[in-house]
Symmetry: C2
Subunit: 354 residues, 2 copies
């Protein structure tokens, strides 16, 4: 079929958008074959300089833009990677998404964001949808799927997962030391003289929730302070649960002089509960959060919290994915947690056993 796809054919179909410039048109304009243009575009093979120049010129002149859809069909790569979050509007994940978008975008990849809605089942469905879209890789931000499910997934497509430590082929885990962070926060309170420190736990089915509780307990143990289960309130990382937990705490009659919340959102809820009781932070009760959300700086009072480098985490996750895609084995690590001291903590009141 010598017809080099030029000009008008039989005029049958019009699936092609009007002003679309195809690779074949570039080839014709440059007087080379389509294969060569493709090779130049992808650096697949060495091409003589004069042809390359002619092709570059034609590309510029015609304003050719490769079609990722066709590229995906032919090459089996879509230059897109799926990103699974729990909720796309979570203030916690936001920064990570930005980091991912920035890093992936710079490499020519596009992120496909989906929300797992805090359910392993929905998460699995999302991943199915992403796979059907033929994403080249999948980044899971602290998902609910089991390690083995992820390892299985990684056999089919490169996977990067944050918030846990695990090893598997074609999988990179990017963990943040939540335990050390929680220790930092608890030690801060301990150092201020607090002994009865309530802990507002996050979802304990969530790895972050588990590790942070562990850090709290470790710090207590290291300081020789007895662990008091009645001071640990279950929660789910939402403001509402923080508020409810503190109210339960009061109802239980357990005395406490400080509260460590497993994340900032719960700390905000706790702050409101305290406010409702007419208690001031930090004069009456000290409060520490975790994550260092953007809004923590502007809470009243500004919240002392553990900084979680979410943007960097997003960048690193994307870099790890890029490495995996290139066939390499990434060995990236997140910076250690830092405590950001603001204004929500002070020494416990001398009087009373609040």
């Amino acid at each position: 079929m010598g017809d080099s796809g030029s000009s008008a054919r039989k005029g049958r179909r019009t699936a092609r958008a009007a002003g679309t410039v195809t690779l074949q048109m570039v080839a014709d304009a440059a007087g080379v074959s389509a294969a060569s243009v493709s090779r130049i575009l992808n650096g697949t093979a060495t091409v003589s300089d004069d042809k390359r120049a002619a092709v570059d010129e034609a590309i510029a002149r015609l304003g050719f833009v490769p079609n990722p859809v066709a590229r995906g069909l032919a090459g089996g790569r879509t230059l897109s990677v799926g990103v699974v979050t729990q909720a796309i509007d979570s203030p916690f994940y936001g920064g990570a998404l930005r980091g991912i978008e920035d890093t992936l975008g710079a490499a020519g990849y596009s992120p496909l964001f989906v929300s797992g809605r805090w359910s392993a089942a929905h998460e699995a469905r999302c991943i199915e949808a992403l796979r059907s879209r033929r994403v080249d890789g999948i980044i899971v931000l602290t998902g609910r799927l089991s390690d083995s499910a992820l390892a299985t997934l990684a056999r089919e497509v490169p996977v990067v997962v944050t918030g846990r430590t695990m090893k598997a082929p074609h999988l990179a885990a990017l963990d943040f030391d939540n335990c050390a962070g929680a220790r930092l926060a608890t030690e801060h309170l301990l150092g201020l003289g607090h002994r009865r420190i309530a802990y507002l736990s996050g979802d304990l089915k969530h790895p972050d929730g588990k590790d942070r509780l562990r850090g709290y307990r470790e710090a207590l143990a290291a300081a020789g302070v007895a662990y008091e289960p009645a001071l640990v309130m279950p929660g789910d990382f939402t403001e509402g649960s923080g508020l409810a937990s503190v109210e339960q705490l009061f109802a239980s009659g357990q005395p406490f002089s400080a509260i460590f919340a497993a994340n900032d959102q719960m700390a905000f809820g706790a702050g409101l509960a305290l406010h409702r009781r007419g208690l001031r932070v930090p004069q009456d009760v000290s409060l520490v959060g975790f994550d260092d959300l953007a809004s923590a700086v502007y809470s009243i009072p500004p919240l002392t919290t553990v900084h979680h480098p979410v943007y960097e985490q997003g960048q690193l996750a994307a870099q790890a994915m890029l490495l995996l895609l290139a066939g390499e084995t990434p060995t990236l690590a997140l910076p250690p947690p830092r405590l950001i001291v603001r204004e929500s903590c002070s020494a416990p009141r001398a009087s009373g056993r609040r």
Copy 2:
């Protein structure tokens, strides 16, 4: 070529992933042509019931999932729509993204989120990227592009834009009555007895910013209260600008008894500035925000604000896009603004002219 694409060919390529089930396989299994399977999948034509049953069975048995990439190439549709935000991690846009994701997903479409980074130039680049990905439509959440630029874009691909009122073919604008919302907030303060109401303006280049200022002025005028330019502080919708504005306000020596911030984030910053001065909300100064972010309920004190139905806005934007894609002309409208009265406002203090 009677070769019905069955089993092993010459084993040349392996772009096809291992366990991939193609439409052709389904056709073979059901004893019909690929065309019929396609027709059944898309409801393109009437197919006899027995064939349909056979195909359905084969699809279920083989676990066939259509390949959107191939579908995009052949049909010219990718079942994906681009969504342009200013920042994907903005607490304001978050809810809208969720609404879009939910509604689009239910219809089989996938959203492609990109961040315009508050710059018209970057926004234009993002749209280019989306177009090169062959999205079927583009939703712009209160972008910075000019109306005419959007109208031009709409000639090539269906467009839904929020935050402005405009008319153009293949374009749906979904405006929220920011002006009425701002009036509501200002009237509330006025009704409480406030006369010197400071206004923390958002970005005035942003349509939302313009309209909200207008609402503030209209309410003032309607109440016969003189507009005082010195009480209007420029801002940019961030917490930091809210804080800075209030500090400037104090520096200027202008008396005021209430503050209306053009969005909740600025209200939070204002709250902190007040706190730093030892002023209490609402006893010393009343504070009203705009948007009703999720965190407004948990701020201290809970913020009185104008509810902006962002989630519904996302849903409606997606619905409008779906309609546009179906060749219809959507006529959807957002609910009118409502004032959410919480605890950040009270009557001005009788004494003093603060």
